[in-house]
Point group: C2
Amino acid sequence: MPDTLPADSVGLVETQFLTVKETLTLDCGRSLPEFTLAYETYGTLNADKSNAILICHALSGDQHVAGYNSMEERKPGWWDNCIGPGKPFDTDRFFIVCPNNLGGCKGSSGPNTLNPKTGKPYGPDFPLVTVRDWVNSQTYLADSLGIQQWAALIGGSLGGMQVMQWAIDYPERLRHALVIAATPKLTAQNIAFNEVARQAIFSDPDFHAGRYYEHNTIPRQGLMLARMLGHITYLSDDAMREKFGRDLREGKLNFGFDVEFQVESYLRYQGKSFVDRFDANTYLLMTKVLDYFDPALQFNHDLSLAFENTDANFLVISFTGDWRFTPARSREIVRALIAANKKVNYAEIEAELGHDAFLTPIAEYHGVLNAYMDTIEI
Amino acid sequence: MPDTLPADSVGLVETQFLTVKETLTLDCGRSLPEFTLAYETYGTLNADKSNAILICHALSGDQHVAGYNSMEERKPGWWDNCIGPGKPFDTDRFFIVCPNNLGGCKGSSGPNTLNPKTGKPYGPDFPLVTVRDWVNSQTYLADSLGIQQWAALIGGSLGGMQVMQWAIDYPERLRHALVIAATPKLTAQNIAFNEVARQAIFSDPDFHAGRYYEHNTIPRQGLMLARMLGHITYLSDDAMREKFGRDLREGKLNFGFDVEFQVESYLRYQGKSFVDRFDANTYLLMTKVLDYFDPALQFNHDLSLAFENTDANFLVISFTGDWRFTPARSREIVRALIAANKKVNYAEIEAELGHDAFLTPIAEYHGVLNAYMDTIEI
């Protein structure tokens, strides 16, 4: 237990809550009569409110993106290496906001929160939302903080999709868009992996059609399987070879189904520990948000038309070892922006790790972020 | 129901059985007091028994590799496009043998057959076997047919591993080795996918620790998940895009968890139909056989040393779209053979489909097979 926090940490932070007592109409046609967003902020909003950054989280992320929620917390927020004094998203300059998305499980309205109509957890009755719904809900957070225009929107993976949607739907409300390790839409293979993850959760007898809260159960096995599978797609084949190779945990084969190879041990650990911190209904919902994202769809499948009214400066970043959302997918975004005559910088970072590289402090990557962030006027 | 079979079919075939009443000692240290191999044969063994080919099957294969088991059978054997009169493995020239491997579920001794000691199905008591064990068991089949030396051994994927093991362990018993879409050993990522598939089966409450036969259940959900996942790894991202794209089954999103995208429908169908024809314990065993294969291990991780005593001519074939066992893996085999001064031909076939390409009649691929098979003297 540390008695001091690192000097470059944003320090102790508390989750805050915004409850909006207005009806939010969703893409699915249903609506939420009211909703809550849990969020954290770091740094100080300046007088003319021109230094605000919104961080958008990915599938398993939440509002706790930097710093510590208690002195006892061993691990800081999920993107702490990027956020703090002197870090790429410098809290000495910027006021940084990160919400937990609608449908999440860390305090925002979602399957594990109470449905005001019934007084019970929403569970499977929570509507399936879209990236556009998220962006709409996030405008209420901006309004509540008095932020008319974000200096920058930043997100990796599913977070990058939210950044693009903001740029498309609310072009006047952001100046810079950082789209990292993202894609303009999922491929059939991406959807296929998500579908297997969903079926794993549905198959768990403790799932109870999503009403497991009422049964005091958790679909542990299903969510564990989903996470194990997800994890394979976050790491590259090369990174796994580098990390585990064919190393045997006990140095020899046991000819049984207990853990033999180190990679099995790692995956089981990742799967099991995820169950303790995440909600299965939220996982299901998040995979659907991913599957549905396709902003070019209403523009005759022409992404450049989708970006036509966008005013933001873009920084697009991809990672060579990322086979979930490959650099080719990021280049589709770049080409669409160029075709639409928009300002875009693109960096393809050499990184063996895979999709998860966007969360790691690779020197070249953070160098690109630092250089770009320095260009942002506040 | 056809009243005639195609002219280039081997026609109606019956599975035969060889029961060996001798103890087979296995790599795991256990032994089988006796064992049965189910097998099929096509064509005619010539007088000096020099025209025999052994086909080795892969994870979900079996002995029924060509022709029809009945006039009512709608689909022929799993590699029918390669085996028959005038086909690459020409039954007018060759006598072709294909066994179901030990641990299989189509008549060979395996988890779903009776343990002679107990009179009950082996279930989880069937020992975990290795590619080397399979090859040893296959020598009994060769002996029983009077085949001292195979004209060729042929296999794709896990089948290719058996071909390599034959060449290493019984160099005097084969003249040609066709190793197709294989790998000298699984990567950590390959093992990781297998581990998720296994955990899916273990998690199914109908699995009953592998004794589901006695409970009159089948771990349907678990095996379905395993197959869905496997199927993703058999197809390339490009092939899935080509085949399904982001097509919606009903032309619109339904904002629910029923099938929305065509690829989901396809995967569920593949998963469900597999359960009707395959055994979960066999699936578990097969994934372990894959994980364990590493013939270079006893040769100080030098595959060329493993091949040192090999006399066979090799044909190694890989497919560009195969990300399960990439062309780079096949080239490792080729380089090891070259380093060991062996005769090897290598073809890298342009094929978008993915790993499953080895089962399809791609013109260039079959052209390579035809040209190579023509060089085999009988």
